[in-house]
Structure formats: structure tokens, C-alpha cells
């Protein structure tokens, strides 16, 4: 049972949270301008990193806020947690590999 650090409530059991997969995937500001591939990328294509990963959590049973966490998806070490809008700490990720379909 991992301890997920909610930026407001502090560390809590992961059972208190709802998971939101890869962080910093913003909804395109003008969806009408998106190609089908770009819309597919927004809807479905998410990084699935093995290692340090910027991901979203929602404290569903607590303060109900969304926030971001850098967590190693293999060792489960939690490296950082930060509020939405705050900059993503550098974890050496290349920018999102665009599907060149």
C-alpha cells in the first residue's frame, strides 16, 4: 500500500486516491484544429514509463484535489509531489514522442 503525498493533506494510503495516469497532457485549446491523430493522442496515448514518471492523482476520499507526483513505477519510490499549475521537476524525460502516423 503506497503512501501518496497529497500536497494538502500529507501522505495517505493509495486506496484514498483515484489515479489519473500521465501528467501535463493538456486538453488542446482549439479541438477543432486537431487532426484525428492529435485527438487520439489527447484521448488515449499516454506515456507508460518504467521508472520515474510524472503522473496525476486525485485525493478522491480526502480533499478531492488533483495534483501531480513523480513516482518510480518500478521501485515505487515517490520522488516529488506538486500542485497543478506548478512546473514539472526535470526527470530527464524526452518530450512526448509524437506518433508520426
Amino acid at each position: 500500500m503506497q503512501l501518496v503525498p497529497c500536497p494538502w493533506c500529507g501522505p495517505r494510503d493509495d486506496a484514498e486516491f483515484h489515479y489519473g495516469a500521465e501528467a501535463h497532457v493538456a486538453r488542446p485549446s482549439v479541438p477543432a484544429d486537431c487532426s484525428d491523430a492529435e485527438w487520439e493522442a489527447y484521448l488515449y496515448l499516454r506515456r507508460n514509463t518504467k521508472g520515474p514518471f510524472a503522473e496525476r492523482w486525485n485525493h478522491a476520499h480526502g480533499c478531492r484535489r488533483w495534483f501531480n507526483v513523480i513516482r518510480d513505477t518500478y521501485t515505487h519510490e515517490v520522488l516529488a509531489s506538486y500542485k497543478p499549475g506548478e512546473a514539472k521537476p526535470d526527470i530527464g524525460e524526452t518530450d512526448r514522442a509524437q506518433k508520426d502516423a
Partner: protein, 1012 residues
């Protein structure tokens, strides 16, 4: 009752063991009555009564005796008690004796002594490891028959006959320091940590603290017997308010970030029902620091036929003598490569047993222990191998011979020595299961010939230390010293401190170099004569391990799964390292490069019921009820589960079938007054200057210009373009709306909206608050419902002009402040009356009383389904399944053409969502109007005599409609909108129903009844 022939008389100085000879306990084993003493385990009591044959091995059904002293026991598996409290596969070594204990052996027929299964042992050549992969394939049809035989032969004990009468519970704990194991190292750590005032939990699987010290009589601490030190430390710990002592509690699982699970046996040792007390308690422990003091387990030796009853681990033999005052044998023989074996010889000799010999693998054993045994005149056979044991249901002796210097073969002929107990010591393994479960990295220690903890997995997120035997420490002195250091450091790391306690002075026998031989040589090569057992429970021999390697199963995980070594209920506690040693030798490599298999929770098998805890039966999952629930129950409602809610399904009168009740309810709703409890719908308060803009983005239609007091139906999509929910939203003020959602979708919609507000559009000034349960809702409909409402409400003009459809008025109904909405899901004139929940039943009672003369009839979810289907209204979750678009539902009218964006808009324009032949909503009328199609039935264009056939789609809703006087149905079928008027087939098992495609609206198509 047999006298306890094997009890040692109490020793003048060494005492009579930690049993209470003044309180005898009667028990039975396989129907035979025996007696033991308080403090005995079932194993020690059986041995006291000279019962060695206790079980039959899994595959070969060989007679088996007690091998160990505790959790490592692979053989003595017991079926305890009968009926609903019966429990299979318990280790006799871990069952505390209680009065009237009723135990039975397992896996034998007709009896333990005469077991038919023993034929497998005779034909053992035909059953090497993995034989079942190589046979039973011919003829193919016979496999299920072969399997039936295998299944009935397999399995050990039996499941109880009925439900468990005992209760279980959970308990959360948050110690600063969790110490696992209360042996010398653990007690010392707890003392050091406890004295700082830190919150400490000390847990041990045994009934008493002390660990290995309980089984030794040659250790003094601070000049007194070790047990006195244990008692003193436990007494001090018990006096500390922040220290929790948990005996009979096995910490069996180590999960992420120092989250550990432990199962406490609360009443098992009492053997009687204790009111208001759980049988077991699952401790869910989040520790800031963990100290693992789980000690060591002794390894057996692998030699020919080393499984005769009466052959046991040396520490076990010693433990029975010292702790339980039991002579596991009157003529013991010790086989060891380790000085520790000599302590067993001394313990038995001191108590009057005649130690036949000490067979020492080492050519020149020396040191204080060896000298002490020599002085006792005991024969020490140095450099000898035990080439094999003999005896049937009890060991009768071993063959011994001098080994070649490298221990690979025999230098001289063997000779036979008679004995009635073989105490074997193959060395010691630190108990690293929990360390390994915490994903710590092990390393092979050549000095110890064992794996020891090397690197902690997550020192920051899950700080942890291993001390004592668990860390490979050899002496009690070092264990106590390390324990104190680790306990203090752990407490200090959590902010509590105190002076470091002085380490007590420990006097213990020293031990010298040991020798490890993975297989003791005998006359014939391994596999050619007799069986060299490695995993006693799963009957895995050294030859099996050789076979696995020979057939290419080289990875240790392959060897484990192919031979099933280490996969029994003891999880390889006595076999894993021996197996590794043998496999490494067979592959011509060393143990570190072979690696270990992963240690998986639990450390010892744990009761499934304790994991269920009290979350079973009535408390398995909440049942959510509305304010009017009492009335529904009192008036004979049949209920239906909708998510966690329990909603009235229909209200049968005496003798009515469901169909008759639903017909009556539907007719009343359209001809008199129907009343529905609609409290379960999701309700969300939407506030803020950007509320209208937010609704514009969330729904497919337009919201900016909705009038105050006006309502509008909205369809909510996901950004994929598929329908996720629907509901009516009402504008209460310029910046204030009241949104409703489906019952099932309430939480999902609030989450969906809140996620977009927080992560996509934080700039919008909008606040959402769930008000689902603030309001109880009674929805009345039908031609007479306005008259009824008028009797109870005199401050709202109910006339259609003043109070038009899809608008809301506030006023007082039956004396209760209320919001009344002209919303209709039935197509009838309808008023949804919302009152604060506390007045829900008062409102309902008032409506029912006043409505009597109007023919008021309560209706449930089934009738609501029929009434809305008559009008062609869809239900999200029934007409939709997450792959349906508004267009599919024929609801293009609700999709704004002018808005540049809303959630789902871009998704809708993806190619596959624009195809004309998608599955689209239609009505279906059966040729025979009385035929009601089953919901989920498939619709076919080209009917075939036999499946398979191409299906167009399925029936989403289907009912008999009393109001239409016939059956009606809705369906999603390929290209449905273009198929109006077509005749199609619905092939059911046994018959095919012909249907005509229509518009999905069957009653009052013009909507003339809406305003009453």
C-alpha cells in the same frame, strides 16, 4: 489415556521445561485419546506420548514424522476439529494444546498406518518430477477421467462443511518503530526504542516472547538463565504506555512504504467460544521504521531416506527436550557439520538419554562443545557421512561411513548404528522472507553458506534494519548488541531519544567453523537407491532437481515450478537453500549466480476470513436507502440494487405477479396519479459567474440564455464523443444552477466535471457542491396530479400558463418549503417535488393521504422504465454502453451546431463515429403483440437455420405496455434509422420472433398529455 512415556523427569538444575505439569490437558489424535500439559504444542504432546507417525507425504504417501519446532514444519499437517469449525493443513508444531482438542491426520486412506496411497512410493520410479507433463495425453478424451483421479488424490486436508461461526476484525496501527520477532535481538531493540518513549510495536508469532532463548539451557545473561532476562525485559516493556506487545501475532506481509500485515491469533489457543471477541485480528501496520529480528531457521541434511519419522532438525529435538521436557527419542544420534548439533547431544545426555553417536561431517571437529561431548564419553565419528537411514513408521538407525576428504564419496564401507531419533543440523538460514518481500537485495555469505540482507530497497521511503539471526549474526551477544543499536537508531530517526541501554553480559557456548555438504554421499549415486528428500512436503528429491537441470529447466524459477520444490504450505522454509545448493552443483556453477526465487507473502499461510474481517454479510458493502425507505418496506415494495442504492422495483399487492403489479402501476400513472421516489438521482449545485459557460462546455446543447427558473435537458459526452450521462439542469439565478444526473452516474459526473475545472479550466469561476442527499424527491404524474398538488400547495399558481413545462417554482407543499419542477420522464403532466431530506417521509405521507381519492399509486423502477420507453426516452447505461453517440440515439437535435467546442464535439467527428451504418436506436414491434422480447436479444436480417449468423444489434429495452396494450421494445441496430418499416428476426433458443422496425416512440407521439 496413555501415560506420557517420553516426558523427561524435571532436571534438578535445568528444570522441566516451560510446561505446567500440574495442569494436564486431554486431547485426541485420529480418535485415540492422549494427555499433555498446559504449555505443550500438539507436536510436543504427541511426541510425549511416543506418537511419531503423524502424516503421509503429498505424492508418494510416505509415512512422515515431526521434522521441525514451528513455522518450518513441512510434515505434521493436521485437520483440527470437525463441522463448521474444522480447519485443514495446520502445523501440529504451531497448535497450542487446549482441553478437548480433536486432531486428525490427513491425506491417507483408510488410515495413517495402512494408507493405500503408499503404492505411489512403491512405483516411485514411474513418478519423477514433472511426470504428468509427459503422460495422460492419450487418448485425448480420457484426460478429464485421468484428471478426476489426480484431483481426488491431491489436496491435503478438507474444507469445513459450513459457514464459519467465528468473527474476525481489522486494526490499524501507526508505530514509530515496528519490531518483528521477540527473540534476544528483538527484545533488546524494543527495550532501547521503548525507553525513548517512542511508539513501539513488538510482534512475535509465538505465545511467549524469547524466541530461541526459550529452547536453550546453556545460555546465561547477566549471570542468570536467559529466561529470567527475557521475563525482566518483557515486564519493563509491559510497563511502557507507548509500547504494544503482540504475542501470537505473525507479521506475514511486507508491502510498499513500510506497510505490513500481521495476523493475531486471539482465541485459537483457548479452544472455546469467547463472546464479543474476534477469533483472529488482522493488524494493518504503517511503521515509520522497521526492525526485522526474525532469527534463523535450521536446514535439514539431504541423505538417503532422510524422511523416516523420528528424523528431525537438531534444534527441534533440542527444543522438545529443553522447552517441553520431551524426549523425542531415548537413543538419539546426531548428524551435523556444525557445532550447534553438539548442544543437542549435551541437552539429551544431561537429561539421561543415551546419545548413541555424533556423526560429524568435519574431519577434525574441535572447540568447547566438542570437548564437552567427548568428556561425556559420547562416540564422535569425525569425517563421517550418514549414507542413509532405515526403518518403516519409525527410524531404527542410520548407516554411516568415512567420507573421502572432499566429501564427494565414501572412503570405507558403511556400518549400521541403531537409534530411535536422528537430530540433523545442515546449517542455518537467516529468515530473510520479510526483508525479501520488502524488495531488499540479498547476497550470498560464503562464511555462513546462506543468504543475508544486503541492500534495503527504499531507505528514504521505507527505512528498515535487520538484526540478530535475520542479519546472519551468529551469537546472542552480537544479536543483543545489534538489537539495542538498531532499536535506538530507529527511535531517534522518528524524533525520540534516550541514553543507550548497557548491553547485558551474555555467556554462551562458542562455535567454530562449520562444513556444508548439500548431499551426503552414499554407496549408490543419487536417484539410484532410496530417496534423498529436499522438499519433504512436496516429495521433491535431489534426483528430481538433477532431472530438471538435465531437461533444460535451468533457471531456479523453472526448477521450482517444474519440480514444485518450495511450493508446499511451508513455502520452502527447509528446502529452498538445499535445492539451490544442489542445482548450483548440478549446473557446475555457484549459488549467487543461480539466484533465489522471489519470496511472496504471506510468511506462513494466513486465514482468509481474517482478511475479510467484519466486512462480510450485512457489512460487506453499504446499502444506501432514501428518506422514504421505511414506507416502501412497510408497503411491500420489492427492491432492486442500483449501484449501492436499494430502490423500490415494484409494489405487488397480495397475489400479484410482477407483470400484473407493473401494469396496474403504469395504468394508474397515465389515468390517475403515479408517485415515484426519485431521491437517488445525482444532484449538483453549480455556482459562480462562469457557471453558464461551464455548462456550455459540459453539455452538447446551449445554456447561456436559459431563463431563471427554467429547466433544460442535457446530454453529457466524454471527449471520445460517446454518451456518458444525462439529466435536467435548472437555472436558480444568473450564476446558480441545480444539475441532476442519473443515479448510477452521480459520482462519475461530479468527478468528470471537477477534473475539468481543476486541471483544464482553473480560470473559470465555478464551484460545484454535491447536494444529492440534501433533497428528498417525490415525483407525481398523471392527469389528476395537479388537483392533488393544489390541495397541498396554496402559494404556487399551478396553472400551465403560470407554471409551464420545464420550469421550477419555490413554495410550500404540505407545510414544507419545497422546490417544484415541471419535469416529466413519463410524458404525463408531472411535478417533481424536492424537499429537505428530513421532511421526505412527511411529504410522501401527505401526498399518499391526499391522493387517496385521486387513485394515487406508488410505482417503482420497473414501471418507470416502461413509462419512459412508451415515450421513447432513453436511459443512459441501458440504451448506451459507452460506445453510443447522440446521433446513434437519434438525438441530433440536442447537439449544438454553433458552439465551437464542448466536451465530446471533436470526438464526434472521428471517422468511425460518422459512419451511416452505425448501430442506431429504433423501436421494435413484435408480430404477436403479447410476445415480450428478452432484453439483450440479438436482431438478425438473414435468418439461418443454425448459428452462426450475422447480427445487426441487440434489444436494449423491452416490456409489456399496458398503456399501449401490447409489447414494446427499443433496440440499437446497424443502420437502424434507415430501416423503418423493415421486418427482421429475433432468433431465441427454441423459437424466432418476427419484428417490425418503427420509431422508438409508442404512446402519445405528439406529447399532448404533457400539460394535463
Amino acid at each position: 489415556m496413555n501415560r506420557q512415556t517420553n516426558r523427561f523427569a524435571p532436571h534438578p538444575t535445568l528444570g522441566g521445561g516451560r510446561i505446567d505439569r500440574s495442569s494436564p490437558i486431554g486431547f485426541s489424535f485420529d480418535g485415540q485419546r492422549y494427555s499433555g500439559y498446559a504449555g505443550d504444542t500438539l507436536a510436543s504432546a504427541l511426541l510425549a506420548n511416543d506418537v511419531h507417525l503423524v502424516g503421509r507425504s503429498f505424492k508418494y504417501h510416505r509415512p512422515r514424522g515431526i521434522l521441525g519446532l514451528g513455522a518450518e514444519e513441512p510434515n505434521a499437517l493436521i485437520q483440527l476439529a470437525r463441522g463448521n469449525r474444522s480447519e485443514p493443513n495446520l502445523r501440529a508444531t504451531q497448535i497450542e494444546l487446549f482441553d478437548g482438542l480433536d486432531a486428525a491426520s490427513q491425506n491417507r486412506w483408510p488410515s495413517l498406518k495402512y494408507d493405500v496411497g503408499a503404492v505411489n512410493s512403491a512405483l516411485h520410479r514411474l513418478f519423477p518430477a514433472g511426470f504428468y507433463y509427459k503422460t495422460f495425453m492419450w487418448p485425448a478424451s480420457m484426460w478429464m477421467t485421468y484428471e478426476e483421479v489426480i484431483r481426488n488424490a491431491a489436496g491435503l486436508g478438507k474444507a469445513p462443511e459450513g459457514p464459519d461461526p467465528d468473527r474476525y476484525e481489522h486494526m490499524h496501527a501507526h508505530p514509530d518503530v515496528l519490531i518483528v520477532g521477540a527473540g534476544p535481538a528483538g527484545l533488546a531493540a524494543a527495550l532501547a526504542a521503548g525507553r525513548t518513549g517512542a511508539r513501539v510495536v513488538l510482534a512475535d508469532e509465538q505465545a511467549e516472547f524469547g524466541g530461541s532463548l526459550l529452547c536453550e539451557d546453556d545460555i546465561a545473561i547477566d549471570g542468570k538463565p536467559a529466561a529470567d532476562w527475557v521475563a525482566a525485559v518483557v515486564a519493563e516493556l509491559a510497563s511502557m504506555p507507548e509500547v504494544t506487545l503482540l504475542p501470537r501475532t505473525c507479521v506475514h506481509g511486507y508491502y510498499d512504504h513500510n506497510y505490513l500485515l500481521a495476523a493475531e491469533r486471539v482465541t485459537d489457543h483457548i479452544g472455546a467460544v469467547v463472546p464479543n471477541t474476534p477469533r483472529q485480528r488482522l493488524w494493518k501496520i504503517r511503521a515509520r521504521q522497521v526492525v526485522l529480528a526474525t532469527g534463523m531457521l535450521e536446514r535439514p541434511l539431504v541423505f538417503r531416506d532422510n524422511d523416516r519419522p523420528g528424523i528431525m532438525l537438531s534444534t527441534a529435538a533440542r527444543g522438545y527436550a529443553v522447552r517441553y521436557g520431551v524426549a523425542a527419542g531415548r537413543k538419539p544420534l546426531i548428524v551435523t557439520g556444525h557445532d550447534d548439533g553438539y548442544r543437542t547431544a549435551l541437552a539429551y545426555a544431561a537429561r539421561g538419554a543415551q546419545v548413541v553417536a555424533v556423526v560429524d561431517l568435519r574431519p577434525e571437529p574441535k572447540g568447547p562443545l566438542v570437548e564437552a561431548v567427548r568428556q561425556k564419553g559420547i562416540d564422535i565419528l569425525a569425517g563421517y557421512s550418514a549414507t542413509g537411514a532405515f526403518g518403516g513408521h519409525r527410524v531404527e538407525g542410520v548407516d554411516v561411513a568415512v567420507m573421502t576428504p572432499d566429501g564427494s564419496g565414501l572412503a570405507r564401507a558403511t556400518r549400521r548404528i541403531g537409534c530411535d531419533l536422528v537430530a540433523m543440523c545442515g546449517g542455518f538460514n537467516p529468515t530473510v522472507h520479510l526483508f525479501s518481500q520488502s524488495r531488499g537485495k540479498l547476497r550470498w555469505d560464503d562464511g555462513l553458506d546462506a543468504f543475508v540482507p544486503d541492500r534495503i530497497h527504499d531507505p528514504v521511503g521505507a527505512p528498515q534494519a535487520s538484526v540478530g539471526g535475520a542479519a546472519g549474526t551468529q551469537t546472542i551477544t552480537a544479536a543483543v548488541k545489534d538489537g539495542i543499536k538498531a532499536g535506538l537508531e530507529a527511535a531517534r530517526a522518528t524524533g525520540s531519544t534516550a541514553r543507550q541501554p548497557a548491553a547485558p553480559k551474555v555467556e554462551e557456548p562458542g562455535s567454530g567453523e562449520h562444513r556444508t555438504l548439500w548431499v551426503l554421499p552414499s554407496e549408490k549415486p543419487v536417484g539410484h537407491q532410496g530417496k534423498h528428500f529436499v522438499d519433504f512436503q512436496n516429495d521433491v528429491t535431489a534426483a528430481d532437481l538433477g532431472l530438471a537441470a538435465r531437461e533444460g529447466y535451468r533457471s531456479i524459477e523453472h526448477v521450482k515450478r517444474y519440480t514444485t520444490t518450495g511450493m508446499g504450505t511451508d513455502q520452502g522454509k527447509t528446502s529452498n537453500i538445499n535445492a539451490l545448493g544442489i542445482v548450483a552443483a548440478t549446473l557446475g556453477t555457484d549459488i549467487p549466480s543461480v539466484g533465489t526465487t522471489t519470496f511472496r507473502p504471506p510468511y506462513t499461510p494466513t486465514t482468509i476470513g481474517v482478511y475479510g474481517g467484519r466486512n462480510i454479510g450485512k457489512l460487506f458493502d453499504p446499502v444506501r436507502t432514501t428518506a422514504m425507505d421505511a414506507w416502501h418496506r412497510a408497503n411491500g415494495a420489492k427492491f432492486e440494487h442500483v449501484g449501492q442504492w436499494m430502490r423500490p422495483w415494484y409494489y405487488p399487492k397480495a397475489g400479484e405477479t410482477m407483470r400484473q403489479a407493473v401494469d396496474r402501476e403504469c395504468l394508474a400513472a397515465r389515468n390517475a396519479v403515479g408517485i415515484l421516489d426519485a431521491s437517488t438521482l445525482g444532484k449538483i449545485d453549480v455556482r459562480g459567474k462562469d457557471a453558464a459557460e461551464f455548462l456550455n462546455r459540459a453539455y452538447t446543447n446551449a445554456w447561456l440564455k436559459l431563463g431563471i427558473g427554467k429547466c433544460r435537458y442535457g446530454l453529457m459526452l466524454k471527449d471520445s464523443g460517446f454518451v456518458m450521462d444525462d439529466g435536467v439542469t435548472t437555472r436558480l439565478a444568473e450564476d446558480h444552477f441545480h444539475m441532476t444526473t442519473t443515479t448510477g452516474g452521480a459520482a462519475a459526473v461530479l468527478g468528470h466535471l471537477e477534473e475539468h475545472l481543476q486541471t483544464e479550466w482553473p480560470d473559470l469561476e465555478v464551484y460545484l457542491t454535491s447536494v444529492t442527499e440534501q433533497w428528498a424527491v417525490a415525483s407525481i404524474c398523471g392527469p389528476k396530479c395537479r388537483d392533488l398538488l393544489a390541495e397541498l400547495c396554496d402559494d404556487i399558481d399551478l396553472a400551465n400558463e403560470a407554471f409551464p413545462f420545464m420550469s421550477m417554482k419555490e413554495g410550500t407543499v404540505a407545510g414544507i418549503p419545497a422546490r417544484v419542477f415541471r419535469i416529466s420522464f413519463t410524458g404525463e403532466l408531472s411535478f417533481e417535488i424536492n424537499v429537505p431530506r428530513r421532511y421526505g417521509s412527511a411529504l410522501w405521507n401527505a401526498l399518499m393521504a391526499a391522493g387517496e381519492k385521486h387513485g394515487i399509486t406508488p410505482y417503482g423502477t420497473e414501471s418507470m422504465h416502461v413509462l419512459r420507453a412508451e415515450r421513447g426516452f432513453v436511459i443512459v447505461g441501458q440504451e448506451t454502453d459507452g460506445s453510443v453517440t447522440p446521433t446513434d440515439l437519434g438525438m441530433d437535435w440536442i447537439v449544438s451546431k454553433t458552439k465551437t467546442d464542448f466536451i465530446g464535439k471533436r470526438g464526434l467527428s472521428r471517422p468511425d463515429l460518422m459512419l451511416s451504418d452505425r448501430k442506431q436506436l429504433v423501436g421494435l414491434l413484435t408480430e404477436d403483440p403479447t410476445e415480450v422480447l428478452p432484453e439483450g436479444a440479438q436482431i438478425v436480417a438473414q435468418l439461418k437455420p443454425q448459428p452462426p449468423m450475422v447480427m445487426l444489434g441487440h434489444v436494449t429495452s423491452s416490456y409489456y405496455s399496458a398503456n399501449c396494450g401490447r409489447s414494446i421494445a427499443m433496440a440499437l441496430i446497424k443502420g437502424g434509422h434507415g430501416r423503418k418499416g423493415e421486418t427482421l428476426s429475433v432468433p431465441l433458443a427454441g423459437k424466432t420472433v418476427r419484428v417490425t422496425v418503427t420509431d422508438p416512440i409508442f404512446f402519445d407521439p405528439e406529447g399532448s398529455r404533457r400539460d394535463g
